[in-house]
């Protein structure tokens, strides 16, 4: 299995633990990724607030580059990239005027975007292309006894529900169960973490992160699993500020791919747990059956 790969800026920056853990996990499952040559920023939520046409064109340049690979399927692990690339695809297909403007703009630099690349999220690929059975077979260090709160956040289920239920997504729940973990049921799995408001307007933004951490802790989670670099950053990085404003709610937040690496027994440089500000210490691996001490 081979996919075009759009890492996005965060996975090369503050969210590097996502890429560092996801790529080896996928390789371990026989998936090959081909990073787009000279990709540009997708535009995220900020560009849309300034100029819609340009935001769409910036995203479409990447779709055009993806089409050049001939792979027709592109992996976008960051939630914002995933949404923006999908959204650009929708706008180009739904609005002929937008298609014309963006098409001509791309043409001026010799690019072309037909809009036929499917933008996929890693959870979608893992659950629907690779399959939970194949994943279960690779588990050598099951996460028995580990209570994980799966946190999907906003932009992979809203506004487009492409591969999971919008109100109650379960793909990560099922994936974590396949790894042997205990899934914590909680009602906030798709609630907003505050997005970039944690930095721009802490009073409002941090409260949303605080609510998530508090609820996950109340329900007995050992760790929160995320799919998005901004969610991970928000839930991991502002503990001193949250403690100062409300109360301490220290709880580690890691990418689901880091938990997969642990369950597959991948080396520490591929699970990169040292990237977290609240360090996650996995429980000791129980001795395999039949190897008990006398």
């Amino acid at each position: 299995m081979k996919y075009a790969y759009f890492p996005g800026c965060s996975l090369k920056g503050t969210g590097r633990a996502y890429e560092e853990s996801l790529v080896p996990v996928l390789r371990h499952l026989g998936v090959e990724l081909q990073e787009l040559e000279d990709w540009n920023c997708c535009g995220a939520t900020a560009y849309m607030a300034v100029d819609e046409g340009k935001a769409c064109a910036a995203a479409a340049r990447n779709l055009a580059l993806a089409e050049q690979t001939g792979l027709r399927q592109m992996l976008a692990p960051c939630s914002a990239c995933y949404l923006v690339l999908n959204k650009a695809q929708h706008y180009l297909n739904e609005y002929p005027a937008m298609r014309q403007v963006v098409g001509r703009a791309l043409q001026s630099v010799g690019l072309q975007c037909n809009g036929d690349t499917v933008v996929r999220h890693p959870l979608d690929v893992l659950v629907n292309d690779i399959g939970l059975e194949a994943i279960r077979q690779k588990v050598t260090h099951p996460l028995h006894g580990l209570k994980v709160a799966p946190y999907y956040g906003c932009q992979i289920v809203r506004p487009y529900a492409t591969f999971d239920d919008q109100a109650n997504p379960t793909s990560m729940d099922r994936l974590l169960e396949a790894l042997g973990a205990t899934v914590v049921r909680w009602p906030l799995k798709t609630k907003c973490c505050g997005g970039s408001l944690t930095g721009t307007l802490p009073e409002a933004g941090l409260r949303l992160s605080y609510i998530l951490l508090k609820e996950a802790r109340k329900r007995g989670a050992d760790v929160i699993a995320t799919v998005c670099p901004l969610c991970q950053f928000n839930l991991d990085s502002y503990h001193p500020q949250i403690a100062a404003r409300w109360e301490p709610v220290r709880l580690p937040t890691v990418y689901f791919s880091q938990l997969m690496g642990l369950a597959f027994g991948l080396p520490a440089e591929q699970t990169v747990l040292h990237r977290g500000m609240v360090r996650f210490h996995p429980p000791p691996v129980p001795a395999p059956a039949g190897a008990e001490k006398p």
Partner: protein, 196 residues
């Protein structure tokens, strides 16, 4: 104490504004709004807003341009899309908020030194100049332009990032930067044409 008129007058309207917004791709369904308030109810940030999302929808439709473009509401939207998904009339409220943000930036009517539009502008400039975002630099620029003193309070966070190997001062950039500039110029040219 500042005394302000709380009732809106007919004369405050900018006739045609609502129609104009509803003609933008993605914003068409606004005319079907039944003012049920589902958007305000599901919005995680409505408790901080000066106008709730439901009120913004009606203000736009009724041509109260200045009120919505100067509101804090549009900048508090975190793009979580909860309203868009829950709206019983399929109004893409998040996209309408984007459209209003664009106009507020274009007309420079957003609250001064408000960090959110500044972040959006700096973000856009960085994409235009380099093709990619370097998060540390972006956030630093935003702080310098809005709350230079608050930047000091972020030093601890910077240190933590440094320790975990996630801090980078290097500006990431793509090779074909002139391609981005040419694409953006072409979009401006095209939109100039379509407006004429």
């Amino acid at each position: 104490m500042e005394i302000k008129r709380t009732i809106k007058y007919e004369a405050d309207r900018v006739p045609g504004f609502g129609r104009e917004i509803m003609s933008v791709p993605g914003c068409e369904a606004l005319e079907h709004c039944i003012q049920c308030g589902t958007c305000s109810g599901v919005c995680p940030l409505s408790i901080y807003m000066d106008y709730t999302p439901r009120q913004v929808m009606e203000l736009v439709r009724s041509d109260f341009k200045n009120e919505v473009l100067q509101s804090h509401t549009i900048w508090l939207c975190a793009s979580c899309y909860a309203c868009t998904v829950e709206c019983p009339r399929q109004i893409r409220i998040t996209d309408i908020m984007y459209e209003l943000k664009q106009r507020a930036i274009k007309e420079r009517v957003y609250p001064r030194r408000f960090p959110i539009p500044v972040l959006a502008e700096e973000f856009t400039r960085m994409v235009h100049d380099h093709g990619r975002i370097s998060e540390t630099r972006l956030v630093s620029r935003m702080y310098l332009r809005t709350r230079p003193l608050a930047a000091v309070g972020m030093a601890g966070l910077g240190l933590q990032l440094l320790k975990s190997g996630r801090f980078s001062w290097k500006q990431d950039r793509i090779k074909q930067r002139e391609q981005i500039a040419r694409i953006m110029e072409a979009v401006d040219r095209e939109n100039g044409k379509t407006e004429a």
